[in-house]
Amino acid sequence: MQHLINYTLHLADTTLILSQRNSEWCGHGPILEQDIALTNISLDLLGQSRSFYQYAAELIGNNATEDSLAYLRNEREFKNLLLVELPNADWAQTILKQFYFSTYQLYLFQQLQQHNNAHLAAIAEKAIKEIMYHVRWSSEWVIRLGDGTTESYERMLHAIDELKDYTNEMFIPTNYETEMKIDFKLIQQQWNEKVNTIFEEATLTFPNKTFSQTGGKTGTHTEHLGYILAEMQYLQRSYPNAQW
């Protein structure tokens, strides 16, 4: 039971934090349509995280709610991937982060929708239709930037370098993930294939990694997460139980 709770929270936290990160672009996108695209993706991710939190709250009991789980847990209790808490930096890094994550999500959720836990399977079945849009949108941008101008190409090289230590964490299962009987090897293989295909078209090369940053899934984060939570949780912390 604890494994299932942790896994559900991991899925909820990861989608919530990426949603929060992407929403920083609201009103700042390079052009209006892309600003809207990214905030739409944020909203989809927020919807996913709400479903996961609602299910986790049900499992935890004890008056836990989706809100208490999102707003009243501390940094060390968050189980999101490190990748999604990294700063947006520029458009290239934001896009690459989204592309890495959406591609991972697509293959993970393909398995989850067959999972014998009916709750997780239903959320995955619903979310995967939205994830298709996210994968398409982000892959097109990776190609456009990589195979674009000298500047966009250089920014992509920089983004690849900045994120290179953070992709493996997706494929190294924690104890609670091992319990969920998900084939992470298969996900990694599918992910590599997709990333290589898109990178090839984008005239980019995926780096041979030598090091993997891990720990996010068990609560050891980069310094960035604290700042996100401080902003996101401020209102509920300062004015407990405040409502719209």
Binding site: I41, M132, W137
Partner: protein, 167 residues
């Protein structure tokens, strides 16, 4: 309950047909296909709905409006259940709903899902302009003012329009 259950369920569906989508007010929640079932458990009326998109902010409001509409007709013991599976699809939108959407200026979803794979730069769907009926249109953005719509422009009448995208 004095009323026959089937008659009651029919009445409830009729009331639900008066509840509209807060963001696209020409469509009722029946047109949209988000009401999946109405069940009577003892004295309680359970309305089972499913979201169009997971983060759709209209869902909370729709739940409230369903309760209000039923309450107004004297039904007080109501519960709303949200389900995700089977996942909502534009195939569930009624023909009448599609006509209403078009008249409202939003291109209705194409009857067959054409482009629903994650592959990059594939051919875009051919969408008819809801204003001048031309097919000479182009996608501007796959994401629009709400999660369920994409942005298009028409090269014939030169008007921009929204497309209720296939899902």
């Amino acid at each position: 309950m004095v009323e026959n259950e089937n008659i009651l369920i029919k009445k409830i569906w009729k009331i639900l047909a008066s509840v509209t989508d807060p963001e696209i007010p020409v469509l009722t929640i029946i047109d949209l296909g988000i009401v999946r079932d109405v069940v009577i458990n003892n004295e309680e009326i359970e309305v089972i709905i499913t979201p169009t998109y997971m983060g759709c902010p209209a869902m909370d409001m729709i739940s409230m409006n369903i309760k209000a509409a039923l309450f107004e007709q004297g039904y007080k013991n109501i519960s709303i259940k949200n389900i995700l599976s089977p996942a909502w699809t534009t195939d569930w939108m009624s023909e009448e709903g599609k006509q209403k959407l078009k008249a409202y200026g939003i291109a209705p979803p194409n009857p067959k899902q054409i482009v629903c794979t994650p592959n990059a730069f594939q051919e875009e769907e051919v969408v008819q302009c809801p204003k001048c009926n031309s097919y000479n249109t182009q996608l501007i953005s796959r994401f629009g003012s709400t999660a369920c719509k994409a942005l298009y422009k028409c090269y014939h009448c030169h008007e921009p329009f929204e497309y209720f995208k296939c899902h």
